[in-house]
Symmetry: C2
Subunit: 208 residues, 2 copies
DNA sequence: AAAATATTGTGATTATTATCACTATTATTA
DNA sequence: TAATAATAGTGATAATAATCACAATATTTT
């Protein structure tokens, strides 16, 4: 599949999706590009061009069918292709994500958690067992998991990431505020909450 | 202050900052643009142009001073201008963020949490009290707080946001997967974790 | 001291992204 | 039925962002 859709567009697709859920719940069948654009404070032609990429045609004077559009976005973003993952780090963030069971509806199944704290190991959270980190290589191979959500403290992040890579992990969703060094072939996505707040603060509070 | 620095640059500044912390901890005094660029897999001239915006000069054949650069970024991003905030929603995500005490080092002080669950109200978490949501207007005014971190379930997000706005809140860091409707003058920053994962998955797993 | 090398700083170029302006179409209203 | 209005679709244009290329400079090596 050719990556014809840019990251910018993918980001907007997720925003459109949130709005479509709302419309669906309200029982509204059609939505127009100016309506969406107004909600997101963007240009309406942008919205139409994005939908064009999904091969989702609208109807003049009516708009787009909410149901079809939602399904188009879900197909494009891979909701229906379930991906199994582990969480490494059973701290507050790790546990919060483990209970975020909505993930499953979006194609992400968290199968288990890992930690090195003997008190946590053996416990269960939201039907997910917490294993000792040493069990990672074995379970990753047996369950064929190559995605981890990394929520360990900053100081341990690189070391744990190295271990995950040795265990065959190919995709790391990294919540530690660290730029991980990984070999080529391994993909990292950074979710730095503090950094995100700083961007918000700069845009709205400081830099204006 | 004129907003001379674009969001894209601000985003990179937060990434540079993570790397600078690492260098500082290792006791390395200088860092070069190619070093940073290699870590982030971006162009080195990009790094230099970003630093130029901070008025932070480098030295040929040596690079930039880690300490100075880090301070420049922190000044620009407002680390030293403390901002008080409330968390609304004492669920898993809310509690995880409340314990994320690193926030304080980055200029964000969480003063208290709010919830509508009578069991949670009155409890304390990481020295932060959980108040009933009805106390929000009063406390926001008394403590002069106009920033909230919204971590309530999707179904209640808009209603709670409306209430927060009525209470004088001007900045909402929104963790609910909902596009909030707010009056002009109120700023929303969306942190949709599921959407973020979908972007990651599309980029690396699906769309390639 | 001279040559080689690594690095900054930056103008020029290219690529990407967003906006504008307009036509075609379809539903609604007079 | 004709006029009006709202909307999709889209090429052209503008704005923004990233990359390239290279001169200037400082350090290191020979």
């Amino acid at each position: 599949m050719d990556q014809k859709i840019s990251q910018k567009v993918v980001e907007r697709l997720t925003l459109y999706h949130s709005i479509l859920i709302e419309y669906l719940e309200e029982g509204i069948e059609a939505i127009s590009s100016p309506q969406i654009a107004a909600r997101l404070k963007i240009d309406d032609s942008q919205v139409r061009k994005d939908f064009k990429l999904l091969n989702n045609a609208g109807k003049c004077r009516v708009g787009y069918l909410v149901k079809d559009l939602k399904e188009s976005i879900e197909n494009t973003l891979g909701f229906s292709a379930p991906k199994d993952a582990f969480i490494i780090g059973a701290g507050n963030v790790g546990l919060a994500l483990a209970k975020y069971d909505n993930f499953t509806n979006y194609g992400l199944n968290v199968l288990a958690l890992f930690d090195n704290d003997p008190i946590k190991v053996g416990m269960e959270f939201d039907n997910k067992q917490i294993f000792h980190i040493s069990k990672l290589p074995n379970l990753a191979e047996r369950l064929n998991v190559d995605i981890v959500i990394l929520t360990v403290p900053r100081q341990q992040a690189q070391k744990v990431a190295d271990f995950a890579v040795e265990s065959g992990i190919k995709y790391i969703w990294n919540f530690s505020p660290v730029i991980l060094r990984v070999p080529s072939g391994v993909n990292v996505w950074n979710e730095n909450l503090i950094a995100s707040f700083l961007q918000f603060a700069y845009k709205n509070i400081i830099g204006s």
